[in-house]
Symmetry: C2
Subunit: 691 residues, 2 copies
């Protein structure tokens, strides 16, 4: 079939033949490819076990169960956010690391939610049936939001499981995902950040790498460690070069289906703007970090996040500016559009769809900066503003019927919303003042200081003075107050006369209007993309996989090195390489080793594999995903991709692009020889606590 061929062209853009591409749905796995290429049979049982052993960190990452007693592993950089929230200047777990030798020593995280996927149901027909065929975009958007909220609520009430309707193929299909939730999650083990993020920003996204980027937690239910049936057996030896491996995790989002109009907008407008924002924040946080030990501790998490995003987006933009990526993309789209003329009405719809997407992209671009500043809150960058706005909107949205609310206030999302809103995580006034002051300055620069809204926001003060005033007088950092206002509703929120909530109220008419524009244009794009997807016929069976949506996906590939400037880069690094790197960099931060690693060097088997590369198709959100072998055993954990993998957002290519993992052997070696955490190592090896 023609459409399949064209889809095949689109899916193998700039790839060598037989690239191990794809972030596959667990209910539409690449069985045929695996059978033909690797003589591997992905049975239902194999898939279900892997699915239920995989964990989503709602804070933005992946992980997996590795013991029947609820022990689970993720990346240190995924867990760091949780660690930070119960660290203090005196007990800085990022710096010192942490190991609970007994269950009693395990520390409960403040607001961490984990999700484990239980089932997937296709609800495309019900969603589409509820959306008027010829309504305008606004009506279609509201109808779709309503039916999705209904489906989610029904499912939540009937199963008790977290229920999310996921939009796939940009609207080509809707699947209902049901998750078991864990909100009592406790920290078991974390190494020092120094070794977990060894080499810091300079080595991030590079290879060779030497990171022990792991963090172990335990899920609890009813005050007891959770008993889990599906957990991964830990392989003490790990994977060999050339071996077939799988990644089961939650890629956050990709943009492979975008049209050229959308890619060009990203390249020329959206990414440059976003990068400007990130670089501005990075400079602000780095400069502030330098002031004292404590400012460095407070800024660590946000600074890591910003640097990580900046490096990733710089890499993506480089991809979009590379004719080797964009040339084939443009050709594939042109070929596809040309091929439309000789077929049925489905093709006509798809043809028209490209024009609709182009127009909607222009309409969105025209509002993008204001949207980012006001609805995206980039002009009011601080936790206090975000909390204040959530309180304001909760008061306004919650009395509405479930299906008519902003999505984040729907009944099915209530528990997750409240977990965040009532979090006891610390908020630092000095950092709040810093970031709010900087973002008010940014707001004034982007809209002009004489802009009417800017003048109202600043209220006759300089950005700095206004930030000091707002942060020092708002009460929203008080969790008890937030609970009171949330429960008291709009009346209580208004009566509080809190200056930050009043600022949110001042901005809200504009912010809501912008959100409406974005929703409507997004609806137009979604319908158009769905039409193109239908034309591509990708929904049928093994035709392909949809763009990533922070839902569970299966990737596969080989443990494999690559060539750089004619020289081979080996697929694996070892403990010996770690010590060597520290020496060649004169132990200068961020290349210094934690003292315990120096002290225990003689005990460490230096030939132990530390990090390895594979051709598995991943993206941000996959951090912490288990890497498993044919037997479904845990052989490593994804923590990064190399620079060449960054354009995977737009197209996969395995000439040089690689996913990067910590080897399972390194984890056991470090626990046993460096950290004296033999009990934990034994739990990993046995798959359960000593009995």
């Amino acid at each position: 079939m023609k459409s399949i061929n064209i889809a095949a062209i689109l899916f193998t853009l700039a790839l060598g033949a037989r690239a191990d591409e794809g972030m596959w749905l667990f209910n539409q796995p690449p069985r045929q490819i695996l059978r033909e290429r690797y003589q591997f049979d992905a049975t239902d049982a194999w898939l279900e076990h892997l699915q239920k052993a995989s964990v989503r960190f709602n804070s933005g990452g992946s992980g997996s169960f590795v013991s029947a007693d609820g022990l689970l592993i993720s990346n240190h950089h995924v867990g760091a956010d949780a660690l930070e929230k119960f660290s203090t200047p005196e007990k800085n777990y990022l710096k010192t690391g942490f190991y609970a030798r007994t269950p009693a020593e395990e520390i409960k995280c403040l607001d961490l939610e984990l999700n484990v996927l239980q089932s997937i149901e296709d609800v495309t027909a019900r969603v589409n049936a509820a959306v008027p065929a010829s309504g305008d975009a606004a009506a279609a958007f509201l109808a779709r939001r309503k039916v999705i909220a209904e489906i989610e609520k029904e499912s939540l009430e009937s199963t008790g499981l977290r229920s999310d309707v996921v939009t796939l193929w940009e609207g080509g299909a809707y699947h209902l995902y049901r998750y078991k939730r864990y909100t009592d999650v406790r920290l078991v083990f974390a190494p020092e950040q120094q070794i977990a993020f060894y080499g810091g920003d300079p080595d991030n996204f590079e290879f060779p790498r030497y990171d022990l980027d792991i963090c172990l937690f335990r899920a609890y239910e009813n005050g007891q460690s959770a008993k889990v049936k599906d957990y991964l057996r830990f392989s003490p030896t790990g994977a060999r070069e050339g071996e077939l491996v799988f990644v089961s995790g939650h890629p956050g989002g990709t943009s492979r289906m975008l049209t050229m109009a959308e890619l060009e907008n990203l390249r020329d407008q959206a990414l440059p703007f976003r990068l400007g924002v990130l670089k501005r924040e990075e400079v602000m946080l780095a400069a502030w970090s330098g002031r004292t030990e404590e400012t460095a501790r407070r800024a660590r998490g946000p600074l890591f996040g910003v640097q990580n995003s900046r490096k990733a987006l710089d890499g993506r933009l480089a991809g979009l500016l590379d004719p080797e990526l964009m040339g084939p993309k443009a050709k594939a789209e042109a070929d596809f559009r040309e091929g439309m003329f000789d077929d049925s009405s489905r093709w006509d719809a798809a043809q028209a769809a490209f024009g609709q997407i182009s127009n909607a992209t222009k309409a969105l671009a025209a509002q993008a900066v204001r949207y980012s500043l006001l609805e995206g809150a980039q002009g009011f960058n601080c936790a206090s503003f975000r909390l204040a706005r959530t309180l304001l909107r909760a008061g306004e949205e919650r009395p509405k019927p479930n299906g008519e609310r902003f999505r984040e206030f729907s009944d099915s999302g209530r528990l997750s919303l409240e977990l965040g809103l009532f979090s006891e995580a610390p908020i630092y006034t000095d950092m709040e003042t810093l970031t709010l002051s900087d973002s008010l300055t940014f707001l004034a620069g982007e809209l002009g200081a004489t802009n009417e809204l800017v003048q109202k926001v600043l209220a006759g003060k300089s950005p700095r003075d206004r930030a000091v005033e707002l942060i020092s007088t708002t009460k929203v950092r008080d969790t008890a107050l937030r609970k009171r206002l949330y429960e008291g509703g709009a009346g209580a929120v208004t009566a509080a006369r809190d200056p930050m909530i009043e600022l949110a109220r001042l901005v809200d008419p504009d912010a809501r209007a912008l959100r409406k524009v974005i929703e409507e244009q997004g609806e137009i794009k979604q319908q158009a993309h769905a039409a193109i997807a239908r034309a591509r016929n990708t929904k049928s069976g093994n035709g392909g996989y949809p763009d990533a949506t922070f839902t569970l996906r299966l990737a596969f590939g080989k443990v494999k090195g690559y060539e750089e400037e004619g020289k081979p880069v080996s697929a694996m690094t070892t403990m010996a390489g770690l010590y060597q790197r520290a020496t060649e960099m004169n132990n200068r931060p961020p290349f210094d080793l934690p003292p315990i690693w120096e002290k225990r060097k003689s005990r460490v088997k230096l030939s132990t594999p530390l990090n390895f590369m594979s051709t598995c198709d991943i993206i941000g959100g996959n951090s912490g995903s288990p890497v498993v072998n044919r037997a479904g055993e845990f052989v490593g954990i994804i923590f990064d991709g190399n620079l060449e993998s960054l354009p995977w957002d737009y197209a996969f290519g395995d000439k040089q692009g690689r996913a990067t993992s910590v080897a399972s052997a390194a984890i056991l070696e470090a626990l046993n020889q460096v950290y004296d955490a033999q009990a934990l190592a034994r739990e990993l090896a046995a798959g359960h606590r000593p009995r």
Copy 2:
């Protein structure tokens, strides 16, 4: 007279009464103020001695002679550029410091030019007479450029001195400055950068400070150390709190005369854009610095420059967003314009001038980004491009009559141009590729990747690939080749078919067109400002001082602390404070001390003053300026201003704003007790070498 009163309002904006404001011309010194306020008589002899002992670093800073044998002192951060150019990975003088114990050990700088002001002549009448009264702006600009080039060339030929016509009061007056040039300048002493820039970016522009930001050079003539009559006697004790002090140096530029239209353009457009560029560069250089010891060494200078500018501009922008600064500015302008109606035709011209400035500002703003990218070369940010364009333009400009060339190619500027063009300073291909790749990406983002010029510039390649190609194939890094092409003229330049020169040629029509727009609109603004200045009548005697122009100025003020959040900040720090700061910051970089400072701690008199603040009116370019007492003795050296001084670009205020200096006593103490540089200390004390 009304105009004088209004001028007085403008000059004391947001100041307390009797603020020690002003960057005064040496030929129009504030004699009356000094007499009335401080009972100090600034005699012609006192002024001439100070003028001729003051030195301009053409690379962008100030300094002064401190011995009859040509010894001169500036800041380490002014000299660092010269130090870097003869440093290597093996001999890194920034890191190790440097001391020439004998004249033979003094190292010659590669391309450093020093200027010492010999005389000032008012040439306003001759310049104005040559400019047609009713011509268009383009004709006026060309006529003015021509007469200025004539005056400069005549002066150079008749005196042999470097001769620059300086535009003062934005065109209200033209003065001819004649300088003695020194181009054989040798390094005598530099401390480690670690102590010269102690506290790094975090402590930059802050107080208390603990920097030994000094660097000593010796001027040579005909292979011998220069014999200078006018040098400053070095005060071993320095200045006391409350004492009257003077600063004689070269403030680079201020914007105090700008109209509200111009200030608003700076606030809402120019500064936000410039800050975006700086933050982008800072992130790029900081990330690259982190890769290896050698990348850190190579990026040090540019990174310092970028961070320093970023912090300064953030401070300026904060000033422009502060109603306490802008409110009085707006009121003064409104009062001034209102006052115009009841006076003569001069007032009418000034009234019209505000409208002309507003229109010209809009016209300039519309081209500002393209100007910055193409003529400002922000889209081609690397030394190779700048050299290539100089070669290209030299070939085209030099055959023209002197008065019709771009100013930088005029006969009077030839020696300085060639000093830079033929410099043997190293150019690093890895850093060139980095910065060119980044700036081509920036160019594509600003103009759009589908822009015709961008497509020609990238030639079908990604920014990275194009940068690699250009940097690896251009030959302009070869000084001998540059000499050949420069001497061979346009024909030789064309025949070379150098890819970087051809890139410059590709861009040049657009770049020249933009420069023409900027020159014409600048001419309109200059004429309008001159009309306003005439109305203010500031040219007459002690009426005021013009905006800074990187020419010699005299400032005065008191050694004085200030209050911050109700707490007094002392005017002086001591050696004891330095050691204390290192301890409280756990010796974490950039708060670690050089080993020799730890080792010699017991020898250092801890009560020795290290840094001090004063109310002297300074700005960037004043770095390295001598601070002298009533007796004209050297009591310290300017190296910084505090954060509150940054808005001095637009208006002086001494409520909290302060200039920061190294105390003379600290210099002697460090040379004697830390560095065992007793011979050098003796030369400072005696004012000449041991005889």
